[in-house]
C-alpha cells in the first residue's frame, strides 16, 4: 500500500476530490496547512507597518491506496490541482506498512 500525500492550493480541493471520486477513491483525509516552496510569500501592511507573510495557506490531501493504484491516483491529483502557476504544490508517495478499519478490525488492502 502507498500513502499519496498531496499539498495543493486550497481552492483546488473540490476539483481534486471529484477527480479522485472519478477513479474510484472512496476516502481521504484533508488538513489545512501552511507552507512555502520557491513561491515565497508576499508583503502586507497593517496600521502603517509592513511585514512579509512567508507561509501561505495550503491544503494537504492524504489517500492510502493499493500499490497498483498509486500512479493512477497521483496522475488524477496532479491533473486536477495544476494551474500552471507558481505555488501549485507537490505530491509525495510513501510506503504504508498496514491499514486497519477500526469498526471491523479488518486489515490489509480490504481495510482501504
Amino acid at each position: 500500500m502507498k500513502l499519496v500525500k498531496a499539498i495543493i492550493k486550497p481552492f483546488k480541493l473540490e476539483e481534486v476530490k471529484e477527480a479522485l471520486a472519478d477513479i474510484g477513491i472512496e476516502g481521504m483525509t484533508v488538513t489545512e496547512v501552511k507552507g512555502f516552496g520557491r513561491q515565497k510569500g508576499h508583503t502586507e501592511i497593517y496600521r502603517g507597518s509592513e511585514y512579509t507573510v512567508d507561509f501561505l495557506p495550503k491544503v494537504m490531501v492524504e489517500v492510502v491506496v493499493d500499490d497498483a493504484e498509486a500512479e493512477k491516483t497521483t496522475d488524477a491529483i496532479v491533473k486536477a490541482a495544476k494551474t500552471g502557476k507558481i505555488g501549485d504544490g507537490k505530491v509525495f508517495i510513501l510506503p504504508v506498512d498496514n491499514a486497519i478499519r477500526i469498526r471491523t478490525e479488518e486489515s490489509g488492502t480490504v481495510a482501504l
Partner: protein, 453 residues
C-alpha cells in the same frame, strides 16, 4: 493574593464613602413645605411640563445611547486585539461599566457637580453619595430640563467611557488586577476633578472655556491617561524588534467595524444629549454636525492612509471615523455644518499621522486610543476657536492642555505607584500564552485552533 486585598480595600472604601455620604450634610426640611407629590403634580400640570418631559426623555434615551458605546468599545478593542486576549479585553470592559456607574454614584457625581460658587475659581470638591430625597427642587423644571436622576445617569455613562479609553491602549499585556485598581482610581477621583473645572462651574468655565460634550474632559482626559499608562507599561513583546515595527494583527475586522458603527450610533446620544434639553434647533444641528464630522473623519483617514501607505487600511479608516467624532465633540453645537466636515477631515488626517508617529517612538497602542482620543481631543477643543466664535484660542489651549496634563500626571504617578507595589505587566510566558488562559483560565474560541500561542 492581590485581588482579594484589592476587593477588600474597595469594599472598605466604598462602605466608608457610603457612610460619609449618608451622614453628611442633608437639607433639613424643617419648616412645612408642600409635599413632593403635590409639588410634582402641580409642576406636571403646568405649561412647562411638556418641554420638561420631552427633554427628560431625550436625555434618558441619550444616556442609553452612550451606554451602548461600551458595547462599541468592547467590540472595537477585541477586534483589534489577538484572539488569545479576547476574554480579557471583554472582561475589562464589563468591569469598567460595572465599577464606573457605582463609583460615580458613591462619589464622582457630587465631586463633579459641587456647585462651585458663581465666579469662583473652583478646583476641587469632595464627593459623596449621589441620592437625594425626592423634591420639587430636584425632580422638576426647578432643577433643569430633566430630573436629578436623569442628570446622574447621563453623566455616569460619560464617566465610565473615560476609563474605557485607557483599556484599549494597555490591552494584551496589562495585569488585570492592576488595571482594575487603576481604572477605579481614575474614574472615581481624577475624572470628577477635571469635569468639575468646566461642567461643575469651576475655573475653566469661569474663564470662558468651551467643551460642549467633552473633547477635552472625556476624550483628551482618557487619551492622556492612556498615554501615561502605555509609556509605563511598555510595548507588547515582539512589537518593536531591531529598529523595525512588527505588526500584531487584530483578529477580527468584522468585530472592529461593528464596534465603530456602535460608537457612531452612541455619539448621537453623547453629543445630542449634551444639549441638555430637547430643543429642536440645537439637537438637530448637533446630529448634523456630529454625522458630518464622522463622515469627514472617515474620508480624511481613508485618503491619508491610501496615499501614505499605498493601500486603503480598514482599521485606520475606522479610527478616522472616531477621530472625526472626537474632533466635533467640543463644538458640535457651535461649529456649523460646513466647518464640521472640515473638522472631521483634519481629524482623520491627524489620526493616521499620529498612529504612525506613536509607533515610531515605540509607544504601543493596539487600538489607536491615544491618537483618536488624546490627539484629536486636543484638536477638537481648538477647532472651537478655529471654526466658531464660542471661545477664543487662548482659553481653549489652556483648558485642553490643563485637562490633558492633569490626566497624564495623575496617571503617571498612580500607575507608577501601582507598578512599584504590585506590578502592571503579565509575565512573558503569560503574554505568549494569551491573557485569556493565564488571567482567566478561559478560551474565547475553544473550538478553534489558535495559531498565535
Amino acid at each position: 493574593m492581590n485581588i482579594k486585598k484589592y476587593l477588600l480595600a474597595v469594599l472598605l472604601c466604598g462602605s466608608a464613602l457610603l457612610l460619609c455620604g449618608s451622614l453628611g450634610a442633608q437639607d433639613a426640611a424643617a419648616e412645612a413645605v408642600p409635599s413632593f407629590d403635590e409639588g410634582y403634580a402641580a409642576f406636571m400640570g403646568s405649561s412647562d411640563a411638556a418641554f420638561f418631559t420631552i427633554s427628560n426623555l431625550w436625555l434618558l434615551i441619550s444616556a442609553a445611547l452612550v451606554f451602548l458605546m461600551h458595547l462599541g468599545f468592547a467590540t472595537v478593542e477585541s477586534g483589534l486585539g489577538q484572539a488569545k486576549n479576547t476574554v480579557n479585553i471583554l472582561f475589562k470592559n464589563v468591569f469598567i461599566i460595572s465599577m464606573g456607574i457605582i463609583s460615580y454614584a458613591l462619589y464622582g457625581f457630587n465631586a463633579m457637580y459641587p456647585g462651585f460658587a458663581e465666579g469662583s475659581a473652583g478646583v476641587f470638591a469632595l464627593g459623596s453619595w449621589f441620592d437625594v430625597e425626592a423634591s420639587v427642587d430636584y425632580m422638576t423644571g426647578a432643577y433643569a430640563d430633566y430630573t436629578w436622576y436623569t442628570d446622574f445617569i447621563f453623566q455616569a455613562m460619560f464617566a465610565a467611557t473615560a476609563a474605557t479609553i485607557v483599556s484599549g491602549a494597555v490591552a494584551e499585556r496589562i495585569k488585570l488586577s492592576s488595571f482594575m485598581v487603576f481604572a477605579t482610581l481614575l474614574v472615581t477621583f481624577a475624572y470628577p476633578v477635571t469635569g468639575s473645572w468646566q461642567w461643575g462651574g469651576g475655573w475653566l468655565s469661569a474663564n470662558g472655556f468651551y467643551d460642549f460634550a467633552g473633547s477635552s474632559l472625556v476624550h483628551g482626559f482618557g487619551g492622556f491617561a492612556a498615554l501615561a499608562c502605555a509609556i509605563i507599561l511598555g510595548p507588547r513583546a515582539g512589537k518593536y524588534v531591531n529598529g523595525t515595527i512588527k505588526p500584531i494583527l487584530g483578529h477580527s475586522m468584522p468585530l472592529a467595524t461593528i464596534g465603530v458603527f456602535l460608537l457612531f450610533l452612541g455619539w448621537f446620544g453623547f453629543n445630542g444629549g449634551s444639549v441638555l434639553n430637547a430643543d429642536p434647533y440645537l439637537v438637530s444641528l448637533v446630529f448634523v454636525t456630529t454625522a458630518l464630522a464622522a463622515a469627514g473623519g472617515g474620508i480624511g483617514a481613508i485618503f491619508t492612509s491610501w496615499i501614505l501607505l499605498k493601500k486603503p487600511d480598514l482599521s485606520m479608516s475606522l479610527n478616522g471615523i472616531l477621530a472625526g467624532l472626537v474632533g466635533i465633540t467640543a463644538g458640535a453645537d457651535s461649529i456649523m455644518p460646513g466647518y464640521a466636515i472640515l473638522t472631521g477631515l483634519i481629524a482623520g488626517l491627524l489620526v493616521v499621522l499620529s498612529i504612525i508617529f506613536f509607533d515610531k517612538i515605540k509607544v504601543d497602542d493596539p487600538v489607536g486610543a491615544i491618537s483618536v482620543h488624546g490627539v484629536c481631543g486636543i484638536f477638537g477643543t481648538l477647532a472651537v476657536a478655529f471654526f466658531s466664535d464660542a471661545a477664543p484660542f487662548g482659553i481653549q489651549l489652556v483648558g485642553t492642555l490643563s485637562v490633558g496634563v492633569f490626566a497624564f500626571v495623575f496617571s503617571f504617578i498612580v500607575f507608577g505607584i501601582i507598578k512599584a507595589v504590585m506590578g502592571v505587566r503579565v509575565s512573558a510566558e503569560e503574554e505568549t500564552e494569551g491573557l485569556d488562559i493565564s488571567e482567566h483560565g478561559q478560551d474565547a474560541y475553544p473550538d478553534f485552533a489558535n495559531g498565535s500561542r
